[in-house]
Amino acid sequence: MALEKQRFDTLILGAGGAGLNAALQLANANLKVAVVSKVFPTRSHTVAAQGGVNAALANVLPDNWHWHMFDTVKGSDYLGDQDAIEYMCREAIPTVYELEHSGVPFSRLDNGKIYQRAFGGQSQNFGGDQAARTCAAADRTGHAILHTLYQQNIRAKTHFFDEYFAVDLIQDQEGIILGALVLDIATGEPLLIEAKTTLLATGGCGQVFRTTSNAHINTGDGKAMILRAGLPLMDMEFFQFHPTGIAGKGMLITEGVRGEGGYLINKDGERFMEKYAPNAKDLASRDVVARSIVTEVREGRGCGPEADHVMLKVNHLDEAVIAKRLPGIRESSKIFAGVDPVKDPIPVFPTAHYVMGGIPTDRFGRVMPTSDDDGDHLPGLYAAGECACASVHGANRLGGNSLLDILVFGRLAGKSIIDYVRDNPSHRPLDEANVEWAMGRLGRWDNKGDGITVSDLRKEFRKTMEDHAGVFRVEEMMREGVEKVRAIREKLADVRLTDHSSTFNTNRTEALELENMIDVGLSIATSALHRKESRGAHSRPDYPKRDDAEWMKHTLYWQEGDKLDYKGVRSQPLTVESFPPKERVY
């Protein structure tokens, strides 16, 4: 049977905040837009973003975008590109007001202005007193934004392919992306979507680690497609472990708990963050808190029978405060940790939460395919959100900056695409050999017989990643990890499905996801092994210092030959003076 084909001006892979915000710009400009999502769009992982979105509105405490920029550059451990960061922090303010006008129900102060919460890493006056910069819609900010954007896209007649899995990008001999091969999960039928422009907005990849706060859908699909298309991923060694996941389960206990006065204790009841971050204490940057917790556990001050976690104490707070400001935390702790935080502290441990690295883009969302500092972008290919790396987070992302990233750069990618389609109005001819290659990759899963199961190899892979590429990283352990993941990649050829049915074959979808996770996992493990310094979320006890002379540069990883290369950090902002690297102390 002939492969079905459909044509669009733009193909967007992923329907979280970045994809939907880009789609809205395009649909409103009367472009023909396809959005492909493996789950129903409002079930994208953006829905889980509880915390909020940063913008220097100064509604609670004095603030301005330049302070926000300073905090973001400092938080990035000076690996963030300062032109992109300046742009994001300036755009944050109109972005939040635009959302407000679109109907996002932000929490309010008594004077009617948007309520803003204090988060870690926020300061007034370039490193001074705590700032309050995070705008929230109770603890449903992500849902409120996603729901609003989805409704507006429906009104703008964006074409949604719900429950379609993107298998691979299709490219021509010149490397130009022509769309993607996708799979209808409901029927098992492939579909070729041709597009003049393609935007990857497939989100993160926390599922590569055994303990993660990410939903099961976060398997790095877009990042892996980029690798298989011969393009690089940037800064993949920088993976943020949220300091407070429910121990052994991964579910997130929001940073807002500490923003409202909760604090961490070890087995002796000691409030240990006082010694690691004397000023910010429990509101220090996430990597600092995560590393402090792991240090406490490694040095024998962990809690529980296995001494493998610490405790988050909130039972000194008024029960009414917990109910009003932190709804959901109490029940979540009861179900997944078996404790009532009003009475007892919550067992917590760092959980893989957010990847700073991704598909390298400029601040217009255009994919940058080379390590050349002055290199050009790849025409017609864009990426935004957690699957991308515009390099606003550098080595470490600040709380409240991820929703901001997807909104600002999703919108800007949309606007860039409008310009591109205006100047390039025709589809390029398909390369049939490349389509055959993608179909072959999909068809490989029809092979029957005995073999390794998807679930067994996935379990082995995720444990390997956690043990060898997690919070603490030393040379020998990591080198062993890279070899183990390479061996796991070889084993993929021996994996066989246990279910060969066509309709809603979760076994096949999970096999495709496993391939993606292993491809992405190797980019993380390889990039991390070779960065011989400690910076932001990348902590090397064998190289404990940040090394600006040698390592203030971005890592680029290509799948072919597991090749690495590096490119310079863009330290020159757009309109203000550069923030030179300093020791990052909170």
């Binding site: 789950v39 079930r43 829905v47 099961h216 029940e331 179900i335």
Partner: protein, 87 residues
């Protein structure tokens, strides 16, 4: 609209519908599907299919957040989901 009997038995479709945007719901709903769903009455199975159509934060508020659905029909189902072992 009445949900047809065939939809109640389409376990693999339901398994994909249990893929959500929140880890908590992934874990709880998939465990419920495996442990309890097929032993439910057709009435409660229909309620489960209806539940999956709600937005994630609503399902979360019922199954994890301690809130109760207004519709009595959902209360029994939500109680069973809350009682699912996720250890």
């Amino acid at each position: 609209m009445m949900i047809p009997e065939s939809e109640l038995k389409n376990i693999e479709k339901l398994r994909w519908q249990c893929r959500r945007g929140m880890l908590e719901l992934d874990v709880l709903l998939e465990a419920f599907l495996d442990q309890h769903y097929e032993m439910l009455s057709p009435r409660l199975q229909r309620h489960f299919l209806q539940l999956l159509e709600f937005p994630d934060p609503v399902i979360h508020s019922w199954c994890v957040g301690g809130e109760n659905p207004d519709d009595e029909g959902f209360v029994e189902l939500v109680d069973s989901i809350r009682a699912t072992s996720v250890a």
